[in-house]
Amino acid sequence: MRASNAGDAAAYERLLTELTPALRAAARRGLNAAGLADTDAEDVVQETLLAIHLKRQTFDGNAPFGPWLAAIARHKMIDAWRRHGRRTKLPIDDFAEVLADGSAEPDLITADVSRHVESLPPSQRAAVRAIAIDGATIAEAAARLSMTSGAVRVALHRGLAGLARKFRTDTL
């Protein structure tokens, strides 16, 4: 996180990738504990990653990273419980043995983010799609969409913020 802070995008991508298995395991645990199907775990993971990204300015470089990450993950877990309507509360320990190792999971395609991307304004949708799904760099996306790099950056950023907002309004 501190390296990313200094503008190292590769370090940042590596960090988020390495956090994902732990987030996935935590999301499963949280959904199971609430008596919900863990098929929605990947949506929770993606929403949490978005929150980590959009709230990265709240991480104080001198403070430990763990509590910050845990608080964000917990907040998003609670959102997911609200969204699905929390039915029962079961102790986490009952499920501990049957939990799959999150790191062994394939890279899952999820419904929520894809649906939310579709409802973004056109230029934001195009920027998010080009960079996320097609794997284009900012410059490549700019050339393909006939936009300036700056405009692609802005559209990408607004698109990502818009995705987080759509998750949020889903909760209501």
């Binding site: 802070n5 959009l54 403070a63 509590p67 907040h75």
Partner: protein, 212 residues
């Protein structure tokens, strides 16, 4: 969209890395406090006999209590937007303010003859107090909300209430130097009402604007 796709998009949006929340907070709050102070100077101004009252125990208590509230809520507001930073102890310390005020009321009731209780409670400027404190706190309230929206408060409504309390404390510190009513009875009734009003507005707004 696959999770690795999303991560690629997030990494592409990594730079420019935003300023830390603390800096955002300071940058928003300083102009807001200056605006509140400017409004105070133009519309209210210090009471003419302020210098003579600086050592008066009732005035000193009123002013220092408002400053104490400002300091205590300030500590809470700085913590509240940052996930994983504990807030409980900071929030519990706020009880010091009503406790001190309660003690001051007891002393006031003891030293004042009963026929003065009601006049001191009503004071001469209750309505101005109710209008001034919320008006002075409006700019700071907007500034705090602006910065807290960049933050990630775990409980949006409580964070909004804390933001309202902090803004109202700024208003109260300023108004305390204008208001000629120094009795703890007056402070307990009208300052409390005015501050609660702003905190309530903050809580309502926070529940809507500070969700993330």
């Amino acid at each position: 969209m696959k999770t690795s796709d999303l991560i690629r998009a997030l990494a592409a949006d990594c730079a420019p890395w935003p300023k830390p929340l603390r800096q955002i907070f300071n940058a928003a709050l300083l102009p807001a406090i200056l605006m509140a102070f400017g409004l105070y100077l133009v519309v209210l101004g210090p009471r003419p006999d302020l210098a003579a009252h600086l050592a008066d125990p009732r005035f000193a208590f009123k002013f220092l209590l408002a400053l104490l509230l400002l300091g205590l809520v300030g500590d809470l507001v700085l913590r509240i937007g940052q996930p994983g930073v504990p807030t409980r102890a900071s929030a519990l310390r706020l009880w010091l303010v009503p406790l001190l005020l309660g003690g001051a009321i007891l002393v006031e009731l003891f030293v004042l003859p009963p026929h003065l209780w009601l006049p001191r409670l009503i004071g001469s400027n209750a309505l101005l107090c109710l209008v001034s404190i919320p008006s002075l706190s409006l700019g700071p309230l907007i500034a705090i909300f602006f910065s807290l929206r960049r933050g990630a408060p775990e409980h949006p409504a409580s964070a909004g209430a804390a933001a309202g309390l902090f803004a109202a404390a700024i208003g109260a510190v300023l108004y305390a130097t204008h208001c000629p009513d120094d009795s703890p009875l007056f402070v307990a009734a009208w300052y409390t009402l005015a501050i609660a009003l702003v905190a309530g507005i903050g809580a309502l707004a926070g529940g809507r604007l500070l969700r993330w």
